[in-house]
Each structure stands twice: as C-alpha cells, then as structure tokens.
Amino acid sequence: MDLLHDLSYFWPAAITSIGGLAAMMAAAFKTDMRWVNAVAVFTALSATVVAASDLVAGHSGLLFSGMVAHGGTAAFGTFVVSLGTLFTLVLSRSYLEKIGHHYAEVYALILFATTGMIVLASATDLVALFVGLETMSVCLYVLAGLVRERKTGIEAALKYFLLGAFSTGFLLYGIALLYGATMSTSLDVIAATTDKGGLYWAGVGLLLVGFLFKVSAVPFHMWTPDVYQGAPTTITGYMATAAKTSAFVAFILVLGRGLQGSVEQWAPVLEIVALLTMIVGNLIALVQHDVKRMLAYSSIAHAGYALVGLTAGTLSGYDGVLFYLFAYTLMNIGAFAVLAYYETADGQERSTLEQFAGLGWQQPALGVALSIFLFSLAGMPPFAGFAGKYQVFAAAIEQGYITLALVGVLTSAAAAFYYIRVMVYLYFKSPEQPVSLPAVDRLYGWTILLLAGLTILFGVMPSLIVNLF
C-alpha cells in the first residue's frame, strides 16, 4: 500500500514512463506516425497537468523510503521538465518529418528521458539521483545521434556519450566517497554530518565537478557546442532546457538540502566557475556565425547566470534559479523552434547568420516571436528573461557578491550584441536572392506564439509563478 500511496505523489514520472511504453506499442500497431505523436503529446500533457496541480496543491514530503521528494523545489522542477517535454513533443513532429527522421522510438526515448529527468529533479538520495541521471543521459545520447548519416550527428552522439560517461565517473566517485565519509547516500544524513574530513571534501569536490559537467559550466563545457549543433534542432532545444533544468534542480537539492552547511566552502568555488562561465560562454558566442552554435554557447553563458543564483546560496537565490530555468525553458525552446522552422522550411538548411538575411519579413509572426525570444535571452525587460536575471543578480547582490553581479551585467551587454545581431540579419539586411518561405504548420506556429506570449506574460507578471515556489 505504501508503494501505491507514494506513487500517487509521483504520477508525472509514472505517466511519462507508461507513455514511453505506449508510444512504442502504438508504433507497433499503428503505422501512422501522427498517431504516435498524439499519444506522446497526450502523455506529456497529462504529466504537465498533474505536475502543475501538484505544484498548486503545495503539499510536500518524502517518498519511496526517502529516495525522492515531492512538492516544493522538486515539484517545480517536475513541472518545468514536463512543460519543456510537452513543447518539444508538439514541435518535433513537423520538424522530424521534414528532416526524414520521424520514428516512434524518438518519442519513446524522449518520454523515458523525461522520466529520468523527473527522478533526477526530485532525488533526495544520491542513488536515486544517479539512476535518474543515467536514465536521462542514455536516452539523450541516442537522441543526439538521431541524424546518423551526418558526421555532425555521429560526432554529437559520440562526444556526448564519452564525455557524459566521463563526468558520470566523477559523480559516481564523488557519491562513493561521500558514502564513505557519511555512511549514507541520503542528502538529509549527509547534511547532518558533522565530521567533515578529507574524504568528505573530496567527495563534495568530485560531486561538484560532475554537476558542473552536466550543466556545462566552464571549464567543463567543451562537449556542449558540438552536441547541441549536431543534434536535431528541436532535440537540442529539449537538451538545453529540460535536461539542464533537471540537472540544475538536482544541483539545488544537493546544495541546498545536502550541503547547505558547507555553503561557505563551495560558494567561492561556484563564484569562480560562474564568473568563468559567463565570460567564456558569452565571449565565444560573440564570434559564432552559425546561429544554432551561437545558442549553444549562449546556453553555457546562461548556465553561468544560473550559477550566480546558486553562488548566493540562499533561498532567494535558489528561487531565482528556479524562475530562471522556467523562463529559460520557455524562451529557448521557442528560439530553437523558430530556428528549426528556418532550417527546414524550404530545404535550404539555413543556419548561419548570412542565410537568415531578410527572413524576419517572410513569416512576420515567427520573426516577431524569435525577436521576443532573443530579447528575452538577452535579459531585456519586459520579458521573462529579465525577471529571471533580475532575481539571480538580486540574490547575489543581497549576499554581497557585487563583482559577480557587475561581471554578470557586463557580459549580458556583450550577450545582447550577439542576440541583436541575429535581428540585424532577420530584418535589416536583404537576402541575396529573394526567398519565400512556405507557411508554417498551424499547430507549430501557434505553439511558438504561445511560447512568445508566455515569455511576455511571465516577464510582466513573474509573481504568477513565483508565488508557487
């Protein structure tokens, strides 16, 4: 009975795993891929609705003998991950059809990955965390290499797999050492430990390295650009948002729940990493000519901004990061979705800045939406990205990290340059040959507009979601 009771608070993960199986079954019996897509979308939608109602209900506690938490941070993480999955699934159909890789397995893998993400984002025990992480990662390795006839696709999958395995090693070693030091893998027990010897600190250090790999912080970011570029665009959006969100939420749980007592030791480390990540991510993004690759580097920079909130090490800092992840999910999936459309609309495979010339006028609504996403990514008000940045910087300033905030805003100004340069091509330059893009799939277009609307809505009224933390 306990199991059923616990499961009733863990529905989103259950739903997505069942949905993954259902997607595979559907593929076996129905050859119409639209049907499979519908099953997957319906699954993600149910998971999102359940996650949202859990979030609103506001209860919290531990499940499965203290392996995972529900409510609070975990519920929010679950909600954002489910939402990101939902949008990815809705957007993926027309994109995957166009690139000729529309398989049922894609949906199964995405849903299984989501299950892993939800476990990861709710884990209060390092073993559960590890299981969630691996479930997610293995699915993502496959998804990254979906376009297998291309070198970039293979490269993405291989690189992701090798470096992912490498970082997992760090994480696992860290978990093992922490277990050695504290005799437990439970975050609450680890938090209660008073005897912090060399073993403990070595464990914490390796754990941090493992996490910094997963959230692609400098200097552990090397895999990100190639993987993000080589993966199919909507999947890239999924990896950059849902996967990153779950890793960050797990990071928050580990830091806030397990290691809050050592905040004075790890905060300076995170401060340096955050500084490096913001500077390096943004500077390299500045010189990119491929928009998808630029967004990959910018996602590194965004990890840096989220790390600013973690560095603060306070409740308002963690809350700021959660909001940031939510905002980032909305605007980044949106941005990748518009890129995916430009890439496949008329078989020209546009991805460099020059190829974007004049596209903003082609489908005005999509151009406006992309502009909104990019301004939001740049942290301009009144979009959600600004509200997110504001909260993490405010948390840092409250804790006296003025330098960190100053570097943060200055790199944001540099970032604004490469974001608005996309609009230079979209609107200010004329294409060499006249282009005319075909109309966008109706559902696809409306989804993008919905994302743009939400980006504005939560920029103007962040309290709508902040109240739920």
């Binding site: 504001y390 003025i402 905030a405 805003v409 200055l410 100004a413 604004a416 608005i420 230079v424």
Partner: protein
C-alpha cells in the same frame, strides 16, 4: 482606468489595432494617428487638473500589486511637477511624428507604426514610473523599438549606428541595474523593515540616507547610465551616428523624447538620492558639460550634412541642461527642466524640417542647396523660426532655458566658479554662428543647383504638423512662467530636501572611518568632526 494609465497604454491597444488591419497601409496610418491623438487628448486633462501648489507631490497616482511577493517592487505610476511636462511633450509629439511619416515611409508600414507606438508607451512609462524597477523596465523597453526604427528604416550606415546605440546605452543601464538593486536592498534595510524596496518615494525621501562611500559608487553608476543617454561628452559618440542614420521620425523621437530620459533621470534619481556626491562631482560634471557645449558647437560648425549639424547641436544644447542640473540652484535646475522641453520642440522641429527637404531632394548636404528660400518660402520661414529658437533668440523658447541656466549657474556654490558660465556662454555665441551660417548657405545666396528651382514648398500636411510646435516655441518664449510654474515648486522642494539630506549625511558620517579618497572628495576633515 484613469487617464494616466489610459494614455500610457492606449498606444499598446493601437498596436493590436494596426496588426488587425495590417493589410491596408492607409488604414494602419489612420489607426496610428487616431491612437496617438486620443492618447494626447487623454493626457490633456492631466495638465489641467494638475495641482500646481502640490507640484512636489505625486498626482494621479496608481499603486498596483507587487511583481514579486518577497520584494517591494510594485506597479507605481504618477506624475509630479518634474515629469508632467515631459509626459505631455511625449503625447504631444506623437501625432506630429506619425503625420510626418505619412508620405515618407513606404517600407513595412505596419512594422514602422508598431515600433512608434511601442516606443511611445516605453517613453511615457519612463516619465510616469515611480518605482525604480518599473522605471528601468520602461527605460529598456524604449530601446527595442528605437533599435528597429534605426536599423530598418534608417540610412545607409544604419546597422553600425543602431548597434552602437543599442549596446552603448545598454551597458550604461545594466551597470545602473546593479546599483539599483543594491540601493533597493540598502533602502530596504535602512527604512523598509529589511524588505527590498524600489519605491522612489522612499528612495528620494528624507529618511533614507546613503553613506558617503556608497553614495560615490552609486552616483557613478547612475550618472554613467544617464550621461550616456543624455549624452554628455565624452559619452556622446553614439548620438551623431544614430541621429544621422535614423529615419526622420526616429530622429525626432530620439531628440525630443529619448535624450530627455537621461536628464530627467539625473534630476529624478541622482540629485535627491546622492546629494553629497552630486555636490562633490558637480565641478567634474560641469566641466564635462561645458566641454560638451563648446565641443558640440565646434564640431557642428564644420559639418557638411545638415542633419549631422543638428545632431551635434544637440550635444551642445544638452550640455547646457547638464550644467544647469549640477549648478544645483533653483534657477539653474528650473532652466534645465524647461530647456529639456525647449530642446525637444526646437530640435524636434529642425529634424522634421530636415526630413522634409530630404524627402524632396534626397540629400542633406549643405553644398547641394543654396538660395532655396525663393523656391520654398514657407519652409524657409519655419526653418528660421526653429533655428532662432535653437540659437536662443529672446522672445522664443530657447532663450528662456539658456538664460535661466546661465543665470543660475553664475553664482552656483556647487560649481564654485564663474568660469563654467563664462565658457558656456560662448556656446550660445557659437550656436548662433553655426546655425545661422548653415541657414545662410542653405536658404540664401544664389541658387547654384538647378534641381532646387523646381522644389515644391511645404504642403498643408507638412505646414500643419509644424504649426503646433511653432505655437509652443513662441508661447514658451513670451510667457515662460506659465510653463516653468509646473516644475518650480518641485525643484525648490527637491533642492531644499537634498541640501538638508547632504548635511545630515555629513553629520552622521564617522570621518575617521572614511577612506582617504572619500575624505578628500567630501572635504570631511577631522576639523569638521570636531566642530560638530
């Protein structure tokens, strides 16, 4: 919805409206015009109902809910003597700008008008916002449409110009954001029970005082953002490009409205919040202002392009405004406030006029004209009036502002030297030189180019949109007290308060605890500690 919010958000409603009718360009223009006229009409009662005797208090106040639960950041809009006229100037210029673009913008008409309307809400919000974060949001929001206005509808060098404009101003405002958040927490701990607050009534109120060291850094951060926006020498380099490359409508809004956000911010935030730092830095700011006045004038003199000349004249004119602000006397700050309006009207008119001649001849080079007064008499008259206003001819508006600024800065204790006034006065003379010389070369003398013979004079639309501006140029010139009356009470109150605050901060300072540079900067010697 009260009239303030109505006039503030009508442009956004208009934006939706023009997207609904976007297939019909002429309808788009009409809807935009109707929206801006309605917004102006809605803002007029604000002027008439404004209680001048309470000019230093916020009126038409709307207090909305908090944006974030734990922080005291709320929707707070209202107008006082400082912002009222700038608000009205913005609603007043909007229909004029729309009409001015009627025949000259044919590319992406819907997009153009969307940007104008978005820009209007952004600009109005800057002047109406009474919460610092809200102010920041509007401050940044107004950047986005201007970025597109210059980038899409601008001249040949538009892309470099608009990127420079955008990034330059963004850097300033982002640094201000850090200072703003810091101030919010500081004020929260000091006077708001530990809760972050960005309520500007609290920030500028008498109870909240900032220590000398923090004041210095915060002053520098805020002043940098506003001085880039003004722009004050040496941060002016984005302005000539942006102005020259912008379409006429963009130049007009940039000159008439957006530059004012900088000087407005200086008076709104910097003077009342950082009184000691303002006083300590007044000579430096005064020096930069004076350099800007003379430098802008000298560079304007050698320009071959009329639009660029007017752009550099803006640098010069706004130098006066900054000088007036940091003279910190009632007369001078009063002059700065009214000069803000005057510059908006006269430079706005000049940019409109330059745009009209550009539409006809597709050139703005002084050398391509000459003697066109005979073919375009109405145009010449209008141009002369705007020029004279810009030069500061007594009887027109420009004179009032410049005279008050020079008068008020003459015996300014903050500046501490009459040389600021003396050098600034040469700027007035230089202005007469470069403006009149340009007018002479463009309008008089023999007609050397045959194309100019067939120029058509202004039509009814063009004349009609200029006349309202001309009326105010004369009206402010002959009856200035009607306009200065709105802000006078506010300025007097503000300066008195900041003076008191400065004394209190100084009295509360532990001189021994200050770093050496701060002691030098604020003349906080051990003697002072002994005397108190």
């Amino acid at each position: 919805m009260d009239l303030l919010n109505l006039s503030l958000y009508l442009p956004l409603a208009g934006l939706l409206g023009i997207w609904a009718v976007r297939r019909n360009e002429s309808l788009v223009r009409w809807v935009t015009l109707l929206t801006t006229v309605l917004a102006f009409a809605a803002s007029l009662p604000l002027l008439f109902n404004f209680d001048i005797s309470r000019a230093h208090e916020l009126q038409f106040l709307t207090e909305g809910g908090r944006f974030v639960p734990d922080l005291d950041i709320s929707y707070l809009v209202g107008l006082d003597g400082l912002s009222l006229l700038l608000y009205l100037l913005t609603t007043f210029m909007a229909p004029i700008v729309v009409i001015s673009a009627w025949d000259s913008v044919h590319k992406h008409v819907t997009g153009f008008h969307s940007m104008l309307l978005l820009l209007q809400t952004g600009s109005l919000g800057v002047f109406a916002a009474q919460d610092a974060v809200l102010f920041y949001v509007f401050f940044e929001l107004s950047l986005i449409p201007m970025y597109f206005l210059i980038g899409i509808w601008g001249g040949s060098g538009r892309i470099a110009a608009t990127l420079k404009f955008f990034v330059y101003t963004l850097v300033g405002s982002l640094i201000m954001l850090v200072a703003l958040i810091y101030t919010g927490y500081d004020a929260g701990h000091a006077v708001n029970g530990g809760v972050f607050t960005s309520d500007m009534r609290i920030w500028t109120g008498a109870e909240y005082q900032i220590g000398l060291v923090q004041q210095t850094w915060l002053f520098l951060a805020f002043a940098l953002a506003f001085c880039i926006k003004v722009p004050l020498f040496p941060f002016h380099t984005w302005l000539p490009f942006a102005h020259t490359e912008a379409p006429t409508a963009g130049s007009v809004v940039l000159a008439a409205i957006m530059l004012k956000m900088g000087t407005y911010g200086l008076i709104r935030f910097v003077l009342p919040m950082f009184p000691n730092a303002s006083e300590a830095f007044a000579p430096l700011m005064g020096t930069l202002a004076v350099i800007g006045i003379v430098y802008g004038a000298l560079v304007a003199m050698v320009q071959k392009d009329v639009k660029k000349l007017v752009a550099y004249s803006s640098v010069s004119h706004l130098g006066f405004v900054v000088l007036g602000i940091f003279a910190m006397t009632t007369t001078a700050v009063q002059g700065a406030v009214i000069q803000n309006i005057n510059h908006g009207l006269s430079t706005g008119a000049l940019f409109l006029l330059v745009g009209m001649i550009y539409d006809r001849r597709h050139t703005r080079m002084i050398a391509d004209f000459g003697g066109i007064a005979s073919s375009m008499p109405v145009f010449a008259v209008m141009f002369m009036v705007a020029t004279m206003a810009s030069v500061g001819l007594p009887g027109l508006n420009g004179f009032v502002g410049e005279f008050l600024i020079l008068l008020g800065s003459f015996d300014s204790a903050a500046l501490g030297s009459i040389w600021f006034t003396v050098v600034a006065t040469t700027g007035v003379i230089l202005a007469a030189v470069y403006m009149l010389w340009m007018v002479q070369r463009v309008f008089f003398g023999p007609m050397t180019h045959d194309e100019n013979k067939s120029l058509t004079d202004l039509d009814a639309r063009e004349t009609g949109l200029l006349i309202p501006i001309m009326i105010f140029i004369v009206w402010i010139g002959v009856y200035p007290s009607l306009f200065t009356g709105y802000s006078e009470g506010h300025i007097r109150h503000l300066l008195e308060q900041s003076k008191l605050k400065a004394e209190r901060v100084l009295a509360a300072t532990e001189t021994a605890a200050l770093p050496a540079w701060a002691r030098d900067l604020y003349d906080a010697t051990e003697d002072l500690a002994a005397t108190k």
